[in-house]
């Protein structure tokens, strides 16, 4: 018995070294040459946020199918290797190691939750395998290294969008924030919402927190009720948000509840029901946007996946895969250094979620839309588009920004003068022109 234990322990001790050696030998030569191009996809397919993982997988699958139908990349077809991380950070790390070391994928696409992307990114960075996260918005994710990219906007921007909407359009003077204490996503949004909201002359009067395993939110909500804020900001994921809204309404709190892209899932309608009235989110795109690029995508997606409308997560995954395919094409193969440079050079890529340009920190610069939830029809109503100040003028959606703003009851002309809260934009030549005094006030990370 003792012998068995000792040998198991020895194995466990040496396993990491063995993995290192293997990885060291492979660096730089992953899958270069001919044959299929293997792309790894990882996400939560069975955990608390499994709708995110499924949407990601479906978005990537649709893009892959389209690329392969056109003959692949330089005659080579794309083959997907999909792994489930159960929504757990440690598992995300393990499956990405597996994708890179065993399946020898040329690039990795994933995760949605920032906490999981943060856990897996160092693995990809160390192995020099490019990783594109379609929808992790916490700024720290791409700071892991120069092989980590994203095709969505980041939390400093998303948080400030909601703060601007609350202060300018809803004319809120006070806000309470109710966030998920274990989520990097939620913490990031909380920080940047508060920064921008305070800068606009309003005040965050209470902060409360919950965890994903909580069964009851009334304690925190009662405390928030006694502070009586104008709006409540709940930067969380759909699994909790619906119940939070429901219990808040039960306590007679009818304030607007605001959130981010983490709310975007069909399950929210069932969980929150009528309580989702008078709630607003910032998101990457609106499925009801009439532009032909979006409607073609929505149609193709619905045709392939049982008539389910694509949420923003699916749209971003679709864009991520298309950018990756275009970059492999441009790089002329899957050599990891060349592929990295090619992805980094992505500029004005016409994606479903807007034109995508990656800045020097490998983050996408694009506008966000504010949507109002309509639980009766299970639809999102478009409210306004809020752009990154000084975003490149070639972004089509940004061009439409001014028109879009006039759609909302509140004139947002003053918004153009508001300083960019996202310091990552400072590198951008256009941004420099718009920067005023407090450009760096919010959230240098």
């Amino acid at each position: 018995m003792k012998k068995i234990i000792t040998s198991v322990l020895t194995l466990a001790l040496f396993a990491p070294f063995a993995a290192c050696v293997q990885k060291g030998g492979e660096t730089g030569s992953t899958g270069d040459g001919t044959g299929v191009i293997k792309i790894g996809v990882y996400g939560d397919l069975s955990g608390q946020t499994s709708n995110f993982g499924k949407s990601t997988r479906q978005g990537v699958e649709l893009a892959t199918e389209e690329v392969n139908a056109k003959g692949g990349i330089g005659g080579r077809k794309i083959q997907l290797v999909v792994e489930d991380d159960q929504g757990r950070p440690e598992q995300a790390k393990t499956v990405v190691s597996k994708l890179i070391n065993q399946d020898k994928v040329s690039a990795v696409i994933g995760e949605v939750a920032s906490t999981n992307s943060l856990a897996a990114a160092p693995v990809a960075q160390e192995a020099r395998v490019p990783m594109i996260t379609p929808s992790s918005t916490n700024p720290k994710v791409t700071q892991v290294g120069d092989y980590i990219f994203r095709v969505c906007f980041i939390d400093p921007f998303q948080g400030s969008v909601m703060a601007k909407f609350a202060a300018n359009s809803l004319k809120a003077k006070t806000a309470a924030i109710f966030g998920d204490v274990n989520s990097d996503y939620s913490k990031g949004l909380t920080e940047f919402f508060e920064g921008e909201f305070t800068k606009l002359g309003s005040k965050v009067i209470m902060k409360q927190s919950y965890t994903q395993n909580d069964q009851d939110y009334k304690g925190q909500l009662t405390a928030i009720r006694s502070a009586n804020p104008d709006v409540i900001y709940v930067p969380g994921y759909y699994g909790q948000v619906g119940i939070i809204a429901k219990q808040a309404r039960e306590l007679g709190m009818n304030q607007p509840i605001l959130g981010g892209d983490g709310w975007d899932s069909a399950e929210l309608w069932a969980l929150g029901g009528a309580a989702m009235k008078n709630t607003f989110i910032s998101n990457h795109y609106s499925v009801d946007d009439p532009s032909p690029a979006i409607q073609t995508f929505v149609k193709a997606y619905k045709a392939k996946f049982n008539n389910v409308a694509p949420d923003a997560i699916a749209a971003l995954a679709y864009d991520a895969m298309n950018i990756l395919a275009a970059s492999i094409q441009k790089a002329g193969g899957t050599d990891s250094a060349k592929l990295r440079d090619s992805i980094a050079a992505t500029s004005a890529f016409p994606g479903v979620t807007g034109n995508i340009t990656l800045d020097k920190d490998r983050n996408a610069i694009k506008p966000a839309v504010v949507l109002e939830l309509n639980p009766a029809e299970k639809k999102y109503i478009y409210k306004e588009t809020i752009a990154v100040d000084g975003a490149p003028s070639n972004t089509a959606t940004t061009g439409a920004n001014m028109n879009a703003n006039t759609m909302s009851s509140q004139a947002n002309a003053n918004m153009a003068n508001t300083a960019p809260t996202n310091t990552n934009m400072a590198s951008n030549a256009n941004a420099a022109a718009n920067v005023n005094g407090n450009a760096n006030a919010a959230g240098t990370k």
């Binding site: 069975s46 159960q86 409360q208 009851d216």
Partner: protein, 305 residues
Amino acid sequence: MDTFVQQLINGLTIGSIYALIALGYTMVYGILRFINFAHGDIYMIGAYTGFVLATSLGFAMNPSIFAFGVTLLGSMAIAAAIGMAIERFAYRPVRRYSRMTTLITAIGMSLFIENLFVVIFSGTPRAFPQLLQNDIYPLFGNAAISSSQLLIFVISIALMVLLQYIVFYTKIGKAMRAVSFNINSAKLMGINTDFIIAFTFALGSALAAAGGVLTSQYNPQINPLMGIIIGLKAFVAAVLGGIGNIPGAVLGGLIIGLAETFVVGYGQNIGIPSTYRDAVAFSILILVLLFRPAGILGSNVQEKV
């Protein structure tokens, strides 16, 4: 003042749920001196059974008291059967080995159930149908009580009274107390101890399932891992009140529920952020155990069930 009353109601609501689950821990411990770590998952099974019953029988479309009653009793019965099956096929075969073996079997059972449900229902949170009209009754000022909260109070108190009756005023209750006192002597007196143990598991599982269905009316979101944290807290409640002691489990559950809620409600005034609410609940446990190692109501001579 109205905020205080509101927090009191919130605390008692969640505390009653903890108490219902804590009863299962405490009864099994009283009889077998064994912590059934899969008990939190029985609570989850109860909620899912209710979910399947309510959706398959069409109750989600036409909610009524009848629909709620059938769902509640149905899921209690099914959970009781599952609890007995777990005892029969997982715990009984290893009961004659060391207590550690049973304990590890229980942990394995817990993981098995959780992952089985992830495979069957996927991990994404599901919305539990509202089976009863959820009305809000204003008390005074801003304080209000919802019918789901009232329901939790009334049903959990009724179940606890029923349990007290079974244990102290019925023949089978007497047998349970005998087994808890000394299992070998009980066997010599002609008590079918295997049956009594199975019955205890059934009783505990039914209470946990009731907790699951009741919580799902109050917080209509269920997922396969919902039993982990609540199971842990109920276990703490059972230990706090004195494990093996039935009124102790109820008291412990209410204390943990109230402590949590008041930390959230008033902790900020004295510099404790709401994030620390679980830490505070567990600190209370440590403090109580320092001064009363057997728990608040526990003692070595107390009759245990």
